[in-house]
Symmetry: C2
Subunit: 213 residues, 2 copies
């Protein structure tokens, strides 16, 4: 399943430290993964997502179709996979235990988004655009939220003594995630001007204000 989707930058950067740490095998895997993604994004841009068969992506990336499916279980995952969830989880752990629960969640989310949005690449922008415009991606992206939701629910549960599947806990969690989603979508709607974090703060404020308009 895809992690929270709208989020990650899908590292275009020249592979920060391919470091001598990893064997040739691992390095090749990373390159292949990247090759597939790059080819895919290029073709999506040229012809659109739906009009681009996986076979064509495979050909462009110089691998067999089987390999594409080995790296990305579904075509959607080429766009949607990211590493936001682990990041979120660790940020949540780092928050002081005596902080009000909602504050902890809020800070972790903002921090996570800042981190992930830091390396602002054109590929990242295209990614969000695709998610906004392609129904299949939109749908799966929402599903991806479920992972993040679980993490936040558990954190809230731990800090409040409630259960993670408690209705109130779940409502808080999904409301916060929905706010993030809308903040990002508004940001792209408005041409990705300014700081996306500003939108996020505004969105979260609405929630803390009790939905006052």
């Amino acid at each position: 399943m895809p992690d929270n989707a709208v989020m990650t930058p899908a590292r275009t950067s020249p592979a920060a430290q391919p470091g001598p740490r990893l064997g040739l095998r691992e390095r090749k895997k990373i390159k292949t993964r990247q090759a597939i993604r790059t080819a895919a994004y290029r073709l999506f841009e040229e012809q659109g997502y739906d009009a681009t068969p996986v076979d064509q992506i495979a050909h462009a990336a110089d691998v067999s179709p089987s390999t594409v499916f080995r790296y990305f279980p579904t075509k959607e995952d080429i766009v949607l996979t990211d590493e936001y969830d682990p990041l979120l989880e660790s940020l949540l752990h780092e928050r002081p235990a005596d902080e009000p629960p909602l504050t902890a969640v809020r800070q972790a989310i903002v921090e996570g988004l800042r981190h992930v949005l830091g390396e602002d690449s054109p590929e990242m922008r295209m990614r969000i655009r695709l998610i906004r415009d392609v129904p299949a991606l939109r749908a799966r992206s929402g599903e991806g939220m479920a992972g993040s939701a679980g993490i936040i629910c558990r954190a809230l549960a731990g800090r409040t003594g409630r259960r993670a599947d408690d209705l109130e806990v779940r409502v808080v969690t999904t409301a916060v995630l929905a706010a993030m989603q809308e903040a990002l979508m508004t940001w792209v709607d408005e041409g990705q001007h300014g700081d996306p974090l500003t939108y996020l703060e505004r969105a979260l404020d609405v929630l803390e204000r009790g939905l006052t308009l």
Copy 2:
């Protein structure tokens, strides 16, 4: 696109008034539609959603596969189609114009859910269960919310003087819908005891309280 999914009862009832009003043609269409749905639900129950090919549904419903796709553009739609959105829209219109915007939305949503949940059928329960358990359905169901979201956004925009694509408006809207989703899911999680509306009220209260736990 599917309307808001979790909601509707998928009329099992013996077709309230097939009235002499409609011609034979229309009556047959309704019957066919129902036959497909009934067959599908039965097979889904017996073998599971993924394990049931559309061809088999067609055979069981005594129509051709082409016909199934004519009635339901996707397999998911067999489970997800409903008529919640028009209902919601009209309920929203009936609300007094001087009512606080959030109150209007809240009442309309509660009212709509009551109406739709009134005819509580076993098919309805299975429906929610399927949406909860089958990833593909969960994903599309979330997407279906987009339709309801548009309606609520427009209502809020009209009552507040803001634009419908205003960030604050969108956050309020998605938060409210998320609350409804969670309320229903919690209800099924807890074995569908008691009144689902109670859960909805609790969920909405959390939001109006500013996410206080």
